[in-house]
């Protein structure tokens, strides 16, 4: 079935491992970077084999060149917490760089530059500020949920996950509500590879980014003349250390926040529905005790792992899990694998809403680059599930779920559901 979807969309690439037997293929041929197995939902056996037989694995040939795959929790932790060896520069994606285009964004910077820039903007998504945004976010969640059809099929991804994420971004920036779809568009454009659907050329990206910069510059100018507000633009415009930020840096920060909060939150929203449908006993547990929502949110984020990996580049020679890493090597931390590491996580393939130590997952990364939006993401998901449980007995998946063609963004493009009211 999944094969058909892939064949229907595009010709299978020579790199694809879809349909291959993870347990018998030569270790050296395992290439986690190719999106095929991720879209087809066949990646878990490959991750399990590497964890067991070759936890720090070298893939010599792939469409993105050679790279190391790190698949055990403790090795991932070691890489993530050693920025002096494993650098986030020049990029945290597996494709070397979009040479013609890169943002000055702190996610792909090392200290001290990273720290300086992160400090400037992180206050906006710190819990103290989120408290101010909570009411508005809840109101918008309620509006969306109340507008959904009951006992009738619709696509959860479009109607809820994407819509909600877009509205939450608009809330964060106090962005004109009727123009909110621009945010999602800019996020898609910023990360798209030209020629793969979203944009056709680098020029097209530039045009779009210039539009984004012009729009935000207008908002900046409006807000600098008003009382300081709780939104990101106002905070940047009034902040002592940000008032004089050069335009490229301003744009870089805006784009990073839009991109960082877009697919990740969207796919956690869909992932929760899938998990509860696959584990009906857990859904029943939640109905019996809705106060489990807080714990469940972290379990959703672990189980889903919305970003499958982050990449580092070795600055010096190093030994990792007994393997010799050379300066310049690409090292990929597979969070999607570490989160299923049976040595650290009890029955890791089980979705377990009252799991002990549930917060100790890798989905947000660890160390200096640990996700800046993690509290925002958790708040959004908590509000959403609190409100869902107030209204619906079940969000039932009634057809085939389709997944994103990517080994980075782990998520869904379609999820047909029917809502059953309480």
């Amino acid at each position: 079935m999944t094969e058909n979807i892939i064949q229907g969309k595009k010709k299978p690439s020579k790199w694809s491992m879809v349909g291959k037997d993870a347990s018998s293929m030569p270790l050296k041929d395992i290439d986690l970077s190719h999106p095929g197995i991720w879209q087809a939902n066949e990646y878990l056996p490959f991750l399990a084999r590497l964890r067991k037989e070759d936890p720090v694995h070298y893939c010599e040939n792939s469409a993105v060149g050679s790279y190391w795959s790190v698949t055990k929790y403790k090795d991932i932790m070691e890489v993530d917490t050693s920025p002096q060896i494993y650098s986030s520069e020049p990029t945290i994606g597996m494709v070397d760089t979009f040479e013609e285009f890169s943002f000055p964004a702190f996610i792909s910077m090392d200290p001290p530059k990273h720290d300086e820039q992160r400090k400037v903007v992180q206050g906006v998504v710190a819990p103290a500020n989120l408290k101010n945004l909570e009411g508005l976010i809840r109101q918008r969640v309620c509006n969306i949920l109340d507008s959904l059809p009951l006992e009738e099929e619709f696509d959860w991804v479009n109607r809820v996950s994407i819509e909600l994420t877009t509205q939450m971004l608009a809330t964060l920036f106090d962005f004109p509500f009727e123009d909110r779809y621009k945010l999602t568009r800019w996020s898609d454009v910023a990360t798209a590879i030209p020629g793969h659907g979203v944009i056709n050329s680098i020029e097209e990206r530039w045009e779009s980014m210039e539009e984004c910069l012009a729009y935000f510059t207008r908002l900046w100018n409006e807000r600098i003349n008003k009382e300081p507000g709780n939104d990101l633009v106002s905070m940047l415009a009034h902040g002592e250390s940000t008032r004089n930020m050069p335009p490229t840096e301003f744009l870089g920060n805006i784009i990073l926040l839009i991109v960082g909060g877009n697919d990740t939150t969207r796919n956690s929203i869909s992932g929760g529905v899938l998990a509860l449908n696959e584990f009906p006993d857990e859904y029943e547990k939640l109905r019996q005790d809705p106060s489990l929502v807080k714990n469940m949110i972290s379990e959703i984020i672990r189980w889903q792992t919305p970003l499958a990996h982050m990449r580092r580049t070795a600055k010096t020679d190093a030994v990792l899990g007994g393997k010799q890493i050379k300066a310049g090597d690409k090292v990929v931390m597979w969070y999607a694998s570490g989160n299923r590491d049976e040595e650290v996580i009890d029955r890791p393939d089980v979705f377990w809403i009252d799991r002990p130590n549930v917060r100790q997952h890798l989905s947000f990364g660890f160390g200096l680059h640990r996700c800046m939006g993690n509290r925002l993401a958790e708040m959004q998901l908590s509000i959403l599930w609190e409100e869902i449980m107030q209204r619906f007995h079940k969000v039932e998946i009634v057809g085939d779920v389709e997944r994103v063609y990517s080994s980075f963004v782990k998520g869904y493009t379609r999820m047909p559901v029917v809502l059953h009211p309480k």
Binding site: M77, T81, D115, R118, K119, Q122, P127, A128, Q360, R370
Partner: protein, 133 residues
């Protein structure tokens, strides 16, 4: 009858503990955690673990410890009572790097997973922040 047994059992356990403490084999150390709203949580732990573990294993709220003590999440942030701050070992480079990114760092901020519970800390007082981030 059951009540009596329990009292007896408690007495035996307490006596055994006192004996160990007297022998210096089991030193119990008192730590007082105070939430941002003033709620107090006294705990009694053995030397050896970290202040973070002392909180988590005794159900003290306000400390998330998302990385489980690897000094890589900063969600075990505490404010050490100023009377005690000089008794602690100095902040290491990794702790400093993580703390420097905290949005509400104060002068006595520490990551509690980096404070070993030692005998000279009997009576330690730490405040937990309103939010961990």
């Amino acid at each position: 009858m059951i009540g009596f047994c329990l009292i007896l059992k408690a007495a035996i356990v307490a006596a055994a503990k006192n004996e160990l403490v007297a022998k210096g084999e089991l030193e119990m150390i008192n730590i007082l955690f105070i939430e941002h709203d003033g709620t107090e949580h006294p705990v009694e732990v053995k030397a050896g673990g970290s202040v973070m573990q002392a909180a988590v294993s005794n159900g003290v709220p306000g400390i998330d410890a998302d990385c489980g003590g690897s000094c890589s999440c900063a969600t075990c942030h505490v404010y050490v009572d100023s009377e005690w701050i000089d008794k602690l070992e100095t902040i290491g480079p990794t702790e400093e790097a993580m703390l420097s990114l905290s949005t509400d760092r104060q002068e006595t901020s520490r990551l509690s997973c980096q404070i070993p519970v030692a005998e000279n800390l009997d009576g330690l007082v730490v405040k937990t922040p309103e939010f961990q981030f």
